[in-house]
């Protein structure tokens, strides 16, 4: 049928294999069946994208180029921090998980970071992100994890084979590979999170009094250690906050029954015009704080910039701040904060003094 011939020729034209004779034939047929102009024009002019139309393409490219340029600076045999895992077949083989590298990093960094952690026997898999850095890694089961600054993560020796268990102190974002036979478990202080295949963020710094679990995609089940085994199901775009239960009376402190942790679930909200939730903005290289006391913001900044912040004025600690830092240096960030909050700062290397 001649109409089928049009489609065949159109395909060949698209694939850049049509001969000039075929192109002529196509034109003749189109003149004969002018309605096929519509089909030709539509098929030729429409755009096909695997990402949603609202994606800011230029920003996407330049942001990723920045990451790449940074990685290109690193010497190949660097053991300063775990590098990207090699995924490419046929171009040489590099171990899929830089476990050994992570182990060495721990030995080198352990003494000045998280001093309360003993450098004990190294587990089979250990990932560290020191203050001032973020780490991206592939786990042995093909799950992806991003570690925020000041974070330590380790996983059991046969991770992926018999079970998948993670121990977390800090903040990490997980993209979990589905595996029904081996649920993905994250132990983070007072909670254990059970996952089947999903994307979520856990914020559980040992020094903080809360553990936050933010679910982006999929489903997780959170079990509270001190909740008498209570399990909470989170749906996408929900955030669970678990607060350390502090005994409020002496009687409670002396009591032998463990005090329950309290928790709350909130739906996630976009703040201002941002395109991602505050809780996961750190993955895109943004330090975000929203209506938080300066003391807490300082804590975040210490990890983010790898500095030590000292308050010479107590009242400054309770000042409420909101803001986002992306490309600013620590000095620029502090200068920006100075604009809206009454304080001044001096810096001596990594030490910053606020008055």
């Amino acid at each position: 049928m001649e109409k089928n011939r049009i489609l065949t020729l159109l395909a060949r034209k698209m694939g850049q294999v049509a001969t000039s004779a075929e192109l002529e034939e196509l034109n003749e047929l189109l003149n004969k069946y002018p309605e096929y102009h519509f089909i030709k024009d539509t098929s030729e002019s429409m755009h096909l994208q695997f990402h949603p139309p609202a994606t800011h393409e230029d920003a996407l490219v330049s942001r990723n180029w920045d990451h790449l340029a940074e990685a290109m600076e690193e010497p190949v045999a660097s053991v300063r921090r775990p590098v990207f895992t090699r995924l490419i077949a046929g171009l040489g083989h590099i171990p899929r998980v830089a476990a050994l590298v992570g182990g060495i990093a721990l030995a080198a960094a352990g003494y000045y970071w998280l001093p309360q952690h003993k450098v004990s026997t190294l587990h089979a898999g250990q990932l560290i992100a020191r203050n001032g850095e973020k780490v991206r890694q592939l786990l042995p089961d093909s799950s992806f994890v991003w570690l925020n600054a000041g974070t330590q993560l380790h996983y059991n020796p046969d991770f992926g084979k018999t079970s998948r268990e993670i121990y977390l102190d800090g903040e990490a974002f997980f993209e979990v590979a589905p595996d029904r036979n081996r649920p993905f478990l994250v132990h983070a202080g007072k909670v254990t999170i059970k996952v089947l295949g999903t994307s979520f963020n856990v914020r559980a710094y040992a020094k903080d009094s809360v553990v936050e679990t933010t679910l982006i995609k999929g489903k997780v089940e959170v079990q509270l250690r001190n909740g008498h085994g209570r399990q909470i199901l989170l749906s996408p775009n929900e955030k669970l906050t678990v607060s350390r239960a502090t005994p409020t009376t002496e009687a409670m402190a002396r009591s032998t029954t463990p005090v329950k942790d309290t928790y709350s679930i909130q739906p996630l909200v976009y703040q201002n015009d941002s395109t991602e939730y505050n809780e996961v903005a750190w993955i895109d290289g943004k330090l975000v704080f929203w209506n938080e006391p300066f003391e807490e913001v300082a804590e975040k900044m210490q990890r983010w910039y790898d500095v030590r912040i000292h308050f010479n004025r107590d009242d400054l600690k309770q000042e409420i701040l909101s803001g986002t830092f992306e490309h600013e240096t620590i000095d620029q960030a502090l200068k920006i904060l100075e604009l809206t909050t009454r304080f001044s700062f001096t810096r001596n290397g990594k030490d910053i003094y606020l008055q």
Binding site: F50, N64, W65
Partner: protein, 187 residues
């Protein structure tokens, strides 16, 4: 293109490398996205491949076709990411391909929203291989031979798949011509 590759290999030219990156990133990112369905992971995969390319730039001239090479790297990385650790291989048929967004150009054809939705639905109902072929040929402008090499199929298969996609499109668009819900501009 070959000028860029020459500069990268023999002059360690980072600006040339950046140009190459900027030319290729979006298409490769989308290709990765089709399989892994996560922006962050797709970005990781593409960056990883370029990092490796930079580190092995002294061997650039051993690559026959840089596009095929890069697309195959992305595909392998994506497949590797997706397969269970217990399995050695995963095939295209086991993978759920990301949704393909369809955008029509109002300067070329005027189409109602309704028809556009029908087109998008139709295209996404095509089998994964077909959708991929359509995208790679039409949008990425790869040739039959290149697509065949990337997806590891014959040129005939590529031709057939493209035909199926167009036939599907015809199925949606032809009836539209009988009814006044679509008009187009005479060029």
């Amino acid at each position: 293109m070959s000028d860029l590759l020459y500069r990268i290999q023999f002059a360690d030219d980072q600006l040339a490398f950046k140009e190459l990156y900027e030319q290729k990133f979006l298409k490769l990112f989308q290709f990765a996205l089709a399989f892994v369905r996560s922006h962050l992971i797709a970005e990781e995969i593409v960056n990883d491949i370029f990092l490796n390319l930079w580190r092995k730039r002294k061997k650039l001239d051993s690559i026959d076709n840089i596009d095929v090479y890069l697309y195959v790297c992305v595909k392998n990385a994506a497949f590797n990411f997706l397969r269970r650790p217990s399995k050695k291989h995963i095939s295209l048929d086991e993978i759920e391909i990301e949704y393909l967004h369809v955008d029509t150009d109002p300067a070329a054809v005027l189409i109602t929203t309704e028809l556009q939705k029908m087109i998008a639905r139709a295209i996404n109902s095509l089998p994964p291989r077909c959708r991929l072929v359509f995208k790679l040929i039409k949008e990425d402008k790869l040739s039959y031979k290149e697509v065949a090499a990337v997806l590891n199929v014959s040129v005939k298969t590529v031709d057939t798949q493209l035909g199926i996609a167009l036939k599907k499109l015809e199925g949606i668009l032809s009836p539209a011509l009988d009814r006044p819900i679509a008009t187009y501009r005479n060029k």
